[in-house]
Symmetry: C2
Subunit: 358 residues, 2 copies
Amino acid sequence: MARAKRATLKSIASDLGVTHTSVSNAYNNPAKVSKALRDRIIAHARSVNYEGPNPAARSLRTGRCGAIGVLFNDQLSYAFTDPHDIAFLRGISSVCEEEGANIVLIPLQNKRPEQRDQLAAIVDGFILNAPYRSHPTIRQALARGLPTVVVDFDAPELSSVLTNDRAAMQAVVAHLLALGHRHLAIVTFPREEGTGEIRSLEDDFSDESYVVHERMEGCRDAVDAAGVPRSAVLVCETTNCEDGGQRAAAWLLRCRPELTALVCFSDRLAYGALAGAASIGRQVPGTLSVTGFDGIDPPGGMSPGQRLTTVRQNACEKGRRAAEILLCPDKEGTTSIAIEAEFVVGDTSGAAPEAGKQ
Amino acid sequence: MARAKRATLKSIASDLGVTHTSVSNAYNNPAKVSKALRDRIIAHARSVNYEGPNPAARSLRTGRCGAIGVLFNDQLSYAFTDPHDIAFLRGISSVCEEEGANIVLIPLQNKRPEQRDQLAAIVDGFILNAPYRSHPTIRQALARGLPTVVVDFDAPELSSVLTNDRAAMQAVVAHLLALGHRHLAIVTFPREEGTGEIRSLEDDFSDESYVVHERMEGCRDAVDAAGVPRSAVLVCETTNCEDGGQRAAAWLLRCRPELTALVCFSDRLAYGALAGAASIGRQVPGTLSVTGFDGIDPPGGMSPGQRLTTVRQNACEKGRRAAEILLCPDKEGTTSIAIEAEFVVGDTSGAAPEAGKQ
DNA sequence: ACGGCTGGGTTTATCGATAAACATCGGCGG
DNA sequence: CCGCCGATGTTTATCGATAAACCCAGCCGT
């Protein structure tokens, strides 16, 4: 059964002896066509299995297509393992549902670089939850000149939804310093070309993602205020998942047993770090404090009674607001929204052990 | 800063005094244009912020757009709370990443019915994980006549990815019957127009979703084989989330205290049912057995030590295979794949209490 | 009796690309 | 020296719709 040539506005029109404009109007502009003709048209269209105008053609002509593109900088298949990203998508989807918009998930091009294919997405705008401007796909998206909302991304010229990462992180570190911790390590996300060596807060983070940069600034705010030297705070990067956190923690604690606190840049890392710490016999919060960032539910079967000390941010709300800015613009021009993240003390941070030891 | 009129193939061509076809070829058909000209074109295009041909126009002309549409029958914002659906999407996305395809998430039209707007998605094919054919959006998708893969859906004319729900469910119920249970209730998903009354396995489920129908058949297979009357197995419907399971369990166990086993059609329901049972003092598996379906991780902080008796199915694999059928077709015609779900005995099912009581 | 309005259609231009057929030209085998 | 080929461009048709301008009959008020 070779697929029959599909009906078009024109074919329907000529079947019925009317003009294609009338058929178009029957679908889009019912007021411009008599009820009788409209019924005749719709009935005939149904009978030849025509379910409305071709979306690509319509989109070309009107310049709108009813979809928004969402770009993560991570792999999509990663995003679908990360509760934060999932909640973000849930927020976006709730608005899109309301507005009847489709969501186009756009994987980054990570194929062989010579392939450099074009960003084919047909969308009316973008939500970028992507820390790096430099990626070719992101560049292409920005070059389209479509309405765009960035999330946790430094782009003053665009609408944005931002979190107070800096202040929140400052609160975390201040909390640990107040508990007497002096040997801290930050567990952060990998750079594009990370070497993996241990750095410290003295180093330069201005090339890293907006989020990392802001959080590092927050850490500095806290240590500077406490008079602790930046060099005393180590920085270690690892992939953002439970496994990465576990490996990083185990390794750090073995190399630098004097550490008493791990400041993780995500809850996933933190939950992993808890497992890593347990694996080499460090007790939390007795001999080690661990903090996270995000406020997600603990992974299944993990640390049931214990609540993580973390920064709670509402990823769903971030998604929702971003989608709202794109789909329900109150006004021309750009909009910027700040979402407050909240520092919450849990059961994984406590007084530094033997404060006088050093 | 009014948005400058965007560059097009034609404008670039006339800027450079060449024909628009050459510009098109520079992007799509490098072999057909001299290296010198191509470089000149790309350089100029860059300088006027042109990042490649307009996707809608290209899609209209070529008939392809590099995206696949995914339709759930539930709300999208629900799908992003369900580990099964998320894993399914992860599977799809891993293939799409590989193939460089975009994913269009299409919310069902649930606005005012008079709105009956058209399915605007611009896609090359569909993955339908949608139990009901009757929904207008699903109808429109099917009417497009594009390559389509259905998942857990009864459509013999299309490619499909199916699970052996029936046999798996049969195993679950046979297991419970073997443990001596004679008063069972099935906790299932809501019908489109459910009334909420308690039914039994005697009732008719042929109008319900494919998945529900198959699983009910599996249950019947087991009870019929054991000589247990179908009327002895209750059927109760509730929304598919932990809360729904909890409410349904609490209510069922209060109305029908003689029940000793709850057969839940999803793990989310089952985890909810465990909470519901606990809330009214039933011990699992001592005085009540609970089974699930899916094999997802337990929700955060829930029943840490206890493993659910359930049917493990690989939702990620389902998504992957569906996407592969769509994006990497080996041959013409339709393909059907079966994915085996596996019954696993956990700690939530045990011998019926006081087998001799009744 | 006549100009203006309105409901219901039609004509024509256009959205921005790709595809296929066609032109031009230098080189090269016979 | 001729005819053909490959490399490089150009012309023209087309994908399937929407928008804007236009046309026309009937009706209305004056």
